[in-house]
């Protein structure tokens, strides 16, 4: 059983830099976009509103290791798994491929928080309904 969510991104010209390849920060943008695609695929969003206000997911860490360059117009396949589904946080693990060859791997950890205007985000337990929808993406599931 495959537990990876798979999405794709075409490298845009604005993702490249004067070295002629994709600028490294574009990979972080695509990692986040892939996470949001995963959430959207099960009816969730990284910003959700309930009666008590807004629930969102500030990032506490992000990393990426690059093994090969990507170029303008490359079609990248991005695999996303949930490496850890914690009580209040999620670690997403990402893998970038082009024609089956791995280009980069990364991880983002985000914390479930209640957001109120002008106040620091406050961590809360991930709502049970959300946990249920995300479990299929946990490899050990």
């Amino acid at each position: 059983m495959s537990t990876a969510f798979v999405t794709t991104r075409r490298v845009e010209f604005s993702d490249t830099d004067a070295a002629g390849i994709v600028h490294f920060v574009a990979f972080f943008r695509m990692m986040e976009q892939a996470e949001h695609d995963l959430l959207r695929s099960v009816g969730l969003s990284v910003v959700m509103h309930d009666l008590a206000g807004t629930v969102s997911w500030p990032r506490v860490s992000a990393k990426c290791e690059f093994t090969a360059a990507a170029r303008f117009e490359d079609l990248l396949e991005i695999e996303v798994r949930i490496a850890r589904l914690g009580k209040r946080s999620i670690t997403y693990a990402h893998r970038f491929l082009r024609d089956g060859k791995e280009l980069a791997t990364g991880e983002i950890t985000a914390v479930c928080c209640r957001i109120k205007d002008g106040k620091p985000p406050k961590s809360i337990d991930i709502p049970a309904a959300m946990v249920k929808k995300l479990k299929p993406f946990v490899p050990s599931h």
Copy 2:
């Protein structure tokens, strides 16, 4: 009497693209940054809060004409004038120079709006205190 506000920006590597020059959208980012530098120089901000909530400046139009390319690490001088100080809107005119040579000119028109969560921005008259601080940047002043 000079009515231009002048600020500078160093071209960052992430502003460049695979053609080896500054990507055109970076000029729009710098135009907005220069506008915000101008506002900050007289104690204003593009997002201000009063008792009634938030006042901000959605853009209704933006344009730029490019006459020469900029490159990584170039130090750009950006002149900003207020081409039109309307009742509810401001048109900023920008000029980019490198070593005294003009690279690009642009304009952004922004409308003074009251912002409320989840509702479309609603235009309001520019507060008198703000008009007073901005008049020195109007060339016909």
Copy 3:
């Protein structure tokens, strides 16, 4: 007969700003992406290599008028027409819609240039094979 090329973009979280809506420079990025989608649809690219080197399309002007805000996760439809197919330049006209409602319109003019390392781009006539492929997108065609 429809002469518009139509493509779509999902608004990403990184396209938004602290006003809660899509930042205006994201529209310029999407305008360029839509132009590149159009070129790709007929087997062309904004950066092409021939025996004599590289042919690319520096922008000489870009503008956009904004009539309504776009928000995170909106699915935008982008129409692209070729407003003017000149001897050495192309003016693309863009229209953004969400659920059939127009949000913004823009234009980008790009010049066909031969690019050599360290030299300013030099304008050339648009190759005949390219003109032929682009004519269907000219409304007056």
Copy 4:
């Protein structure tokens, strides 16, 4: 003796997102900008040309841990140290502060490479003249 290079960045509006805070990828952009500021301060650049062509520094890994949010117009202090000065690679360590309070820490590892058009970057030894200029930023120096 302080071995940190210190630079500053003002948070721009385009760095923020719809959660009202600085988007996490902006930290990676600022980490790279701070590295380039360090290089420029000793007469070096991340892209240098010699008789044999171009020498640049593709990134092989990047990471950042976020402990507090930054907001529009915050003035951030960025400390950069060289955590490891290898034979062919450099690991830069970054620390973001606002009013003396730490907001984030990160690391970028870049490899010294000869760049040739259309070929994968090829790692080379860091030139001796460059090593000499960078040693003062190595804490154990």
